[in-house]
Symmetry: none
DNA sequence: AATGAATGAGGATTCATTCAT
DNA sequence: CATGAATGAATCCTCATTCAT
């Protein structure tokens, strides 16, 4: 009776695990963690309710798996994948990356945002978010050192940029508007003003 | 004879109603709406579980009351109370107002943020948030007309500003840092850059 | 702190006690004992909820008081008040008495019927119903002895007569029909056939 | 996918559904609908409390299921199964049928009687009882037409007969007496007197 | 390995009763 | 003496989790 099947204990059926993670992402962001019943989740994933417990120890482990998955993806894309380039270009990479992720995985960004404070997130999940923010701060710091970005507490700067993105994304989704190239480039210009030395 | 004590039918004991609203604000933002059990809420408010139902028809009516209370307060302070002044000064009023509210009522801003999407918010509650956002957009529009603020979709601009604030506030609260004058003025300068014509 | 105020411990305010008993009769027969909330009962009686407990030890004592009141009234009218007369005339007295009570106190008869089996009726309440039935049986027995009424177990005969009455009353009230002289005399004739020697 | 297990969506486990219906019949007639707590009901049925909600949408749906079940059974046996025969024989069929049902299912008749007025009975449940009463009235009417039964409003006659039965059954059960052949045939003779032309 | 019927602890809510006013 | 606001035990019901199949 293996416990932690989330790790690579050779998950029984990758397609099923994937379906569960995907259904969880959808439902947890549409409704809430507490507001989502496991049986409903199972139905959405097309598996039996009991099956979920073969892939995840419990509901809490499942949210954490979803969180980690997308928090990692975001970090990988936006921080690890940051090119060595002038600050303006790095910012473009970052900003457009955020929007691309939001466009490709409409639920992922809002899910990450909504669940960050959650009491049920474990340390590892929190750690990943911090890696993302710290990574972004480090990039900023380097850009400041080379005089390309305004001098200000890097974490403050990072929070402002990231908050701008989240605020705009929420507004668009509230109004049922999709993500248009126009909005992305307009906002890129504007937000860069906060960084520009 | 009237049952609806949620309205101003001279609530039986204002101090108790206040205690309930206050406990609800705290718990709903620390945990979640769904994640907060009514008995716990009652204990935190220092009243019996049944008492809550003398003041609010049900849990849903209670969240809405909390939401309306602070959404109104915010609108009153930041939009209705906006002085007729140069754009830069109006922005200072707005930005510092946001932080002042956050400092005085640490939970209120995060509560409003976390509950905006909530399915259980009724029309009236939603209307107030829109009044706030539309009001802010209108002020921006006027400032744009007079050439003091960059030309860009007002709601986009508004979302960026408000998002910046929220992002920074969350970051501070995550790190357990309080709201310092330094951070407020530093951020004010930076965010203004997004508006500056 | 006198307990049993239902007895003649000089009830504090007879009009109020009366109002409570009357409201209880109405509500307990329209809804149920368990289905009737004490606060509602208080409102219907025009008194405060707490007041009820000055007149009756608790809800259970109240139903019993209502039950006893009408069970006694019925016994007094129909059994104690039975004239010494030929059987046919005694039956007329009894049958018309039942309908008169039902007409004057629409709720009382149905209340008595509905609550007879109730677990919360105390011994005294049950005793009264038995006095009524035993009294009726005794009258029947005498009439049988004098050859005016068919020979059959008196209690069986009594149950059939009384059941006929209840059945018809319920049917009328189900159909929203009032108690008409026509129905009463028609049924009197018919039911007498069961007794006729 | 279908939620409504109350219908014949092949109830998950017929034996369990049966146990619940049976426990409900017992308890609802011993105590009351409102007076019967669901956990107690579950215990008596030998199932978990939650299980009841897999078979019945809620407590109300459960009483209705019980009511329909026995009201249908009664109608089937006594009205639909009425032979084409002389009135006296038809009456014997009806009367003995009532007592047979009462003997086989001691709780069913009293349950039906006690719950007829109930506010929580839905339209379908009420319809069945009416089918029973109307059916009985129709049979009476035919017998009147052929001069075998006294002329009197059929529904009145029906109510008297059925009321007699109920009254006697209650008396027997109050006194803890079983249903004896003697009582049944004695009462059959007597009640027939009400019908005899 | 997968299921989904069954469970019971825990949720929201009601209501008989008390007690400070 | 009368009140009705306050209470918490007890209600109905949901849902995360288990386990026999």
């Amino acid at each position: 009776m293996p416990k932690n099947l989330t790790t690579d204990d050779q998950p029984v059926n990758p397609a099923k695990q994937e379906a569960i993670l995907s259904a969880a992402l959808e439902l947890f962001s549409e409704r809430t963690y507490e507001g989502t019943a496991v049986p409903l989740l199972a139905e959405r994933a097309g598996v039996g309710a009991g099956t979920i417990y073969r892939y995840f120890e419990n509901k809490e482990a499942l949210v954490n798996a979803v969180y980690r998955r997308w928090a990692n993806e975001r970090k990988r894309l936006l921080v690890d994948g940051m090119p060595d380039a002038p600050a303006r270009e790095q910012f473009r990479h970052f900003w457009r990356g955020l929007w691309q992720l939001a466009a490709e995985q409409p639920h992922a960004t809002l899910f990450l945002e909504a669940h960050h404070h959650a009491a049920y997130l474990d340390e590892q999940s929190c750690a990943i978010r911090n890696q993302f923010l710290d990574g972004a701060a480090l990039i900023l710091e380097r850009a400041q050192a080379s005089g390309q970005v305004r001098h200000a507490t890097p974490h403050v700067l990072g929070a402002l940029i990231f908050g701008s993105f989240t605020g705009l994304l929420k507004q668009l989704s509230d109004h049922g508007e999709g993500i248009s190239e126009a909005v992305v480039s307009e906002s890129e210009e504007i937000v860069w003003k906060m960084l520009e030395a």
